[in-house]
């Protein structure tokens, strides 16, 4: 049973409060998906907003054949993928500025908020260097926690391809993280 089904029906009936609930339920996930895939907080906020607007306007096309969450992620990945595929001068400038930042050198104790922020920045920066297809698969699994079958539905690829992209994505990600995390 889809846990979002009742809320989705309310939104379809024009209930703005229900849509506000839906946004509240998924805003952290969608924002972090966009942030991990783009490595840019400003872009992530804009993209996350675009996703929810598209969700609201496209609810008439959601037939309920999959869970709402799967459909949401499908819309989100398509929006973000389009954004990644069309780099603008401004996005290039932002990316250059982020590459000039100092990399993380040591892991800090879990209780250190600033260190957690720096760790996240370093991880998202490394993710941003992966090819888009691998980046999508690793992010959906390791950042968003989606099951393999759901990733397969979101990206519309076979499960075998999902597994392969996660495996290869993590393999390529390792050297990108190793320098800043001091692995041997």
């Amino acid at each position: 049973m889809d846990p979002d089904r009742a809320l989705v029906e309310e939104v379809r009936r024009g209930n703005q409060e229900a849509f506000a609930d839906l946004v509240g339920r998924y805003q952290v996930r969608v924002f972090n998906l966009a942030r991990a895939l783009t490595g840019n907080e400003a872009d992530a906020a804009e993209l996350a907003q675009d996703v929810f607007v598209k969700i609201y306007r496209g609810l008439g096309t959601f037939r309920g054949e999959s869970a709402f969450r799967t459909w949401l992620y499908r819309v989100a990945t398509n929006v973000i993928r389009s954004h990644i595929a069309r780099p603008s001068v401004f996005r290039w400038l932002v990316r250059r500025e982020r590459n000039d930042a100092d990399p993380l050198e040591t892991l800090a104790a879990p209780g250190d908020i600033e260190a957690r922020v720096t760790q996240r920045d370093a991880i998202d920066r490394a993710l941003g260097q992966l090819p888009t297809d691998l980046r999508m698969a690793v992010t959906l699994r390791d950042v968003e926690g989606l099951e393999y079958k759901e990733i397969s539905e979101v990206l519309d690829i076979p499960i075998g391809t999902v597994m392969s992209r996660i495996a290869r994505g993590r393999e390529k990600l390792r050297p990108l993280l190793a320098a800043s995390l001091g692995w041997t």
């Binding site: 805003q27 607007v53 069309r86 996240r120 991880i123 690793v138 495996a167």
Partner: protein, 176 residues
């Protein structure tokens, strides 16, 4: 005997903590004889550990109200979002660049316009005309300044346009 493509899926599931003991044994046996899969396995385990340390970023404040404002019914809805200004901007930028390029090429002039001006480019020929009209400005004998003078005679004006002086034309000269 396990093949590498099968081992690949097991590597992912092992890193995600989803491998049954029998599957783990099979993977370990394969990895013992396959350097590539050993490297793949080590990378997946290491990256999974690192990714587990990633904490979620906080959503910017005011995010939900902004979203709701975009979808709110009535005239208060964001018209910029409605026309998808970002997409239009990205589409129009190449068009604008092409127009600028065409304007730049047209402004420099082609070979046909240069030949029509006796070998001068349009900018050069217009400069020559300007110079002709301003050459004698300092002596107040240019056609333009002559025409503006109220006391100029028709003979003086004609002489100025022809590049001669009335005194010369009447043979009174200046002794040259």
């Amino acid at each position: 005997m396990l093949m590498c493509d099968t081992a690949e899926a097991l590597v992912v599931r092992e890193a995600d903590g989803l491998l049954a003991p029998a599957e783990l044994a099979g993977l370990e046996a394969h990895a013992a004889g396959c350097e590539a899969c050993r490297a793949l396995r080590a990378a997946n385990l290491a990256v999974k550990r690192a990714m587990a340390l990633r904490t979620d970023a906080m959503v910017p404040s005011g995010f939900a109200p902004r979203v709701l404002a975009c979808v709110a019914p009535g005239p208060s809805a964001d018209w910029l979002e409605a026309v998808d200004w970002r997409r239009w901007t990205e589409w129009m930028l190449p068009v604008a660049a092409a127009l600028l390029l065409i304007a730049g090429v047209a402004g420099n002039g082609g070979s046909t316009s240069t030949a029509a001006n006796g070998g001068l480019s349009p900018s050069e020929s217009s400069a020559t005309v300007s110079e002709a009209w301003t050459l004698s400005a300092e002596t107040e004998s240019s056609p333009a300044t002559s025409a503006l003078r109220q006391d100029v005679t028709s003979d003086e004006l004609l002489a100025t346009m022809l590049g001669t002086r009335v005194a010369d034309a009447e043979g009174t000269g200046n002794g040259r």
